[in-house]
């Protein structure tokens, strides 16, 4: 068989949608590694879901044209059958966990394949080892960080030993080590003759030798197949004059019941952008929430000047509940009694075209931008962003850079917790790494 998957004039439209998510796709995916790129909402996730039959079988909607995956006619083969050969890891791994503990979750797929107990054990151990998370086997998934969960989801897919592995934004929450482990795994799988298809906004993180690429735009295959380049770190700002300290942590221990990091001294001045990086599970979100006042420190002191706080949680979909995106931004203005128009922030994030859309109908990347617009409207004095580039395409990252830059110039003190080290290098006046229970300054970009 020459192609892993073949699409001929294939179109798909979700139920109640007014346009095709995939439109007259003509595409052949070969063995080895294939990268799928394209802006948020371009149809990447839909294309990936079609590779295991979730589109059209699970979602309904209208499909036309021809599509074959591993020799199976997509429109006549159920997802359950395709799933025995095709493994898919979703963009938001926390939504796909069936069971409560890591080992059991990874075993769920092999159990569905009816494998003998000994083989399931061997596959679970191998998959956990492959993703470098052997020590998490007995942990409860609810207690893991976002990045650790992403690794568990990847391990669960690897344990299926698929012929075709499909990954949707697999590195969105991974630290450098996790992304490298994934890249190695994908390279090994591709070298062993399997097919790996990855949708990724930062393709350089998973790019492998000899990989092919497909670029989507508005549901169609784009002609321009030039690879995205790794962004360059931020150049020093010409002598920014930061204002007084807006908040400060002094000898703080952070954690929920047990400390995950101790002796933290950190402060953010007016107009300063601090970035917090570190391995998955190191406590970045916990530190950010402690600085924002959402969590009391286990010891030490937190001081903050009064001022409006803007906080973007790691799972931003939760803040969206209005019927339209415009109402969502207006709601923040109403609650905070802000006398400002919602349009400039929607413009900043290129969301004016989607202003009347239901926020929950948006793609993951668009939803992330919608949540950012909803929390950053107005001029917040203190800004806390937890993984703000999750699911963000290069254009969205650029918009975020500009908005955060504008806020900082306006005097906001900004803290960004991110596993996206490239973004941290681009945006941060200083970058701090939280690892091994302590915080250290990794780089100071600003003069």
């Amino acid at each position: 068989m020459s192609a892993v998957a073949e699409f001929q004039e294939f179109s798909f439209r979700y139920p109640e949608a007014d346009q095709d998510s995939l439109h007259l796709i003509n595409l052949q995916l070969g063995w080895g590694l294939t990268l799928v790129t394209g802006p948020s909402g371009s149809g990447k996730s839909t294309l990936l879901r079609s590779l295991n039959g979730l589109v059209p079988h699970f979602h309904g909607g209208r499909a036309s044209g021809g599509a074959w995956v591993l020799g199976h006619d997509l429109r006549r083969t159920s997802t359950r059958q395709l799933a025995r050969e095709v493994a898919l890891v979703f963009q938001e791994p926390e939504t796909q966990f069936v069971l409560a503990t890591v080992e059991r979750e990874v075993a769920f797929g092999p159990e569905n394949l009816g494998l003998p107990q000994a083989e399931i054990r061997q596959r679970v151990a191998s998959a956990l080892g492959g993703m470098g998370i052997q020590e998490l086997g007995s942990r409860r998934i609810a207690n893991l960080s976002g990045g650790q969960r992403q690794r568990v989801a990847l391990a669960a897919a690897l344990a299926m030993r698929p012929r075709l592995l499909v990954l949707d934004e697999p590195t969105s929450q991974l630290d450098g080590e996790g992304a490298e482990a994934l890249r190695r795994q994908c390279q090994e799988l591709a070298d062993s003759g399997l097919a790996v298809v990855i949708a990724e906004h930062r393709p350089w993180r998973v790019d492998a030798v000899g990989s092919a690429s497909v670029q989507l735009r508005r549901g169609s295959v784009a002609q321009d197949e030039s690879r995205l380049q790794r962004p360059v770190p931020k150049s020093p700002r010409p002598g920014p004059a930061f204002g007084p300290l807006r908040w400060e942590l002094s000898q703080v221990s952070i954690g929920h019941e047990q400390p995950v990091a101790v002796g933290i001294d950190l402060g953010c001045r007016q107009g300063e952008v601090l970035c917090l990086t570190g391995p998955n599970g190191s406590g970045k979100s916990t530190l950010l929430r402690t600085a924002a006042g959402l969590l009391r420190p286990l010891s030490g002191s937190v001081s903050r000047l009064p001022g409006r706080i803007a906080y973007l949680p790691q799972e931003p979909g939760g803040v969206l509940h209005q019927a339209t995106l415009l109402d969502e931004v207006r709601q923040t203005c109403r609650w905070l009694k802000l006398d400002c128009s919602p349009w400039p922030i929607l413009e900043d994030f290129q969301l004016t075209q989607l202003a009347t859309a239901d926020p929950r109908d948006l793609s993951t990347g668009q939803r992330q931008r919608a949540a950012l617009a909803a929390v950053l409207v107005g001029e917040p004095e203190l800004v806390f962003l937890d993984e703000p580039t999750r699911g963000a395409d290069p254009a969205s990252r650029q918009q975020l850079l500009q908005v955060v830059g504008r806020l900082a110039r306006g005097g906001s003190a900004v803290l960004v917790a991110t596993s996206d080290t490239e973004f941290a290098g681009q945006i941060g006046d200083s970058v701090h790494e939280l690892a091994g229970g302590s915080l250290r300054r990794r780089a100071e970009v600003a003069a």
Binding site: F90, V98, L99, R104, F108, N112, R296, G318, V319
Partner: protein, 291 residues
């Protein structure tokens, strides 16, 4: 904004380190449900509730929090007593009389109504507590493993469903936190829509995505196998045996009409004491004693 208090450390030493076999626990739960529902005698219901609470206290998994479950049981119980007291209007001992123009509530409120409500609440609390044992004493995957092969698909769906309530709780807390930071403040019942609606929507969306993920992982594509099978210890055999004995005793009592009942209407009276059904109830303490 004031900082939330750090969570106090959990009570040490009460929870068991020796897991109970899920099948033995399921038989025990069936016995508690039967005893709580088969007779309205408050003595049996007090004993079964005591047994369920003792199992929760002594055999719950390490690290699980009991307080939310106990608060939910207590609230449901209080609501049951209140509803029966306000709505029954039967009985001889009048405590209060509400004006007749009040729809449903108007009329005599009696001691017997309150007593019967308390009896119902005891039964309800015992059933709830026993059901909670299933999720707090064993892991959902242990339940999945414990069901026989032909029911493996149902079992996996059950295991996934059991994660729904914790997901909703997590979603509620994170949405409330995020909305508070956007300026939301609780002002009356309607204001909670800003938290409850997105929390529920997020959970529903999560359920759809979960179903999609299960399908994508070959769930339902054929016969399932299991990573582990639950083992039976001597204590598990004893728990199952005593629970079965209890069930048989009560079923026999029901069949022969020898099981004492209790009715507080029209005039409140003390429940009858019968030694052998009470002994059956005491056998339900086996999981707590054998832990």
């Amino acid at each position: 904004m004031s900082l939330p208090r750090a969570r106090p450390p959990r009570l040490p030493g009460l929870q068991s380190s020796e897991p109970v076999n899920p099948r033995a626990l399921a038989i025990w739960v069936a016995a508690v449900l039967l005893l709580s529902l088969a007779s309205e005698d408050p003595v049996f219901r007090i004993l079964t509730l005591g047994a369920a609470l003792s199992v929760l206290l002594t055999r719950r998994r390490s690290g699980v929090r009991l307080r939310p479950a106990l608060v939910a049981v207590a609230l449901a119980s209080v609501l049951t007593v209140l509803l029966n007291f306000l709505l029954s209007h039967s009985g001889s001992t009048v405590l209060l009389e509400l004006p007749g123009w009040l729809p449903a509530l108007g009329g005599q409120l009696t001691l017997e109504g309150a007593a019967y409500g308390a009896d119902l609440a005891l039964g309800l609390a015992a059933c709830f507590a026993a059901g909670i044992c299933l999720s707090l004493v064993v892991e959902p995957y242990q339940l999945v493993d414990s069901l026989p092969g032909p029911l493996s698909r149902t079992a996996a769906a059950l295991g996934a469903a059991m994660t729904l309530v914790p997901r909703l709780g997590h979603s509620f807390l994170s949405v409330r936190e995020a909305q508070q930071m956007r300026g939301w403040r609780a002002k009356g019942i309607r204001s909670w829509a800003a938290v409850v609606v997105p929390a529920v929507l997020t959970t529903i969306e999560g359920s759809v995505l979960l179903a999609e993920a299960m399908e994508a992982r070959a769930f339902g594509s054929g016969r399932r196998s299991a990573l582990a099978t639950a083992r039976w210890s001597v204590a598990d055999h004893l728990i199952a045996a005593t629970s079965l004995l209890t069930i048989c005793g009560f079923v026999a009592g029901l069949a022969t009409g020898q099981l004492p009942g209790w009715q507080p209407y029209p005039l409140l009276s003390a429940p009858a004491l019968s030694w052998w059904p009470s002994l059956c109830c005491l056998l339900l303490f086996a999981p707590a004693v054998l832990g």
